[in-house]
């Protein structure tokens, strides 16, 4: 049973460019959350998608947007990249009716470097 799959593993972009990161949730999970983790810090919540809609959003600017597809996979898009967007981007999947009793399953992340 595959866990959460993220692609690409690593990415280097130039300031001002746009980037799209992809995530396939664990089989059977219907909810996808995205987190940004700067070096040496804990993950910060970006947003969560359920039933193809953004259900909750963290304190991130509108440059960060996302999408969830009917097969529950998800994309994170970041426009007008800044140097400060360099981080590890983590996708986590879960079951909507299990959040009180079960933890999240995280992917291995996408390491984004903005130069």
């Amino acid at each position: 049973d595959a866990g959460v799959t993220q692609s690409p593993t690593h990415l280097i972009k130039t300031r001002g460019q746009q980037v799209t990161l992809r995530c396939s949730p664990k089989s059977g999970h219907d909810t996808v959350s995205w987190y940004q983790q700067a070096l040496g810090q804990g993950p910060q919540f970006i947003f969560q998608y359920y039933e193809e809609e953004e259900r909750q959003r963290g304190n991130f600017p509108d440059r960060f947007s996302g999408h969830q597809f009917p097969n529950y996979s998800s994309e994170l898009n970041v426009n007008a990249l800044l140097l400060g967007d360099s981080a590890l981007y983590l996708c986590a999947s879960s079951l909507a009716n299990g959040v009180l009793n079960y933890g999240y399953t995280f992917g291995s992340g996408t390491r984004l470097t903005v130069v």
Partner: protein, 112 residues
């Protein structure tokens, strides 16, 4: 700023010793979770403790929760070199929907 804080920020122990790390948080929670992260890669879920539970065990892991003090601790007994990792606590706060709020983590080094 983050919801919780782990203490200590870093911990170095010998193989076979116990490792204890603490987590404090600020608001009422539905549950608190502990995760492990190796070398800046993905997080692995270790254990979840609900707000009405006080202690939980999983293998060599023991988690306690004190909601009156808004704190939790993770104990790893008989540590192994493979336990070397960063450990994060994450809260699912009652007023925060489904998001998890992470602390800054404790970096644990287990020396063989």
């Amino acid at each position: 700023s983050q919801q919780g804080e782990e203490d200590p920020q870093a911990l170095s122990i010998q193989e076979g010793e116990n490792a204890t790390m603490n987590c404090s948080y600020k608001t009422s929670i539905n549950n608190l979770q502990w995760y492990r992260q190796n070398s800046g890669r993905g997080l692995v879920h270790l254990i979840l403790i609900r707000s009405n539970e006080r202690e939980k065990h999983s293998g060599r892991l023991r988690v306690t929760l004190d909601t009156s003090k808004k704190s939790s601790s993770l104990l790893i007994t008989a540590s192994r070199a493979a336990d070397t990792a960063s450990y994060f606590c994450a809260q699912r706060a009652k007023a925060a929907g489904n998001k998890l709020t992470f602390g800054g983590g404790t970096r644990v080094l287990v020396k063989p």
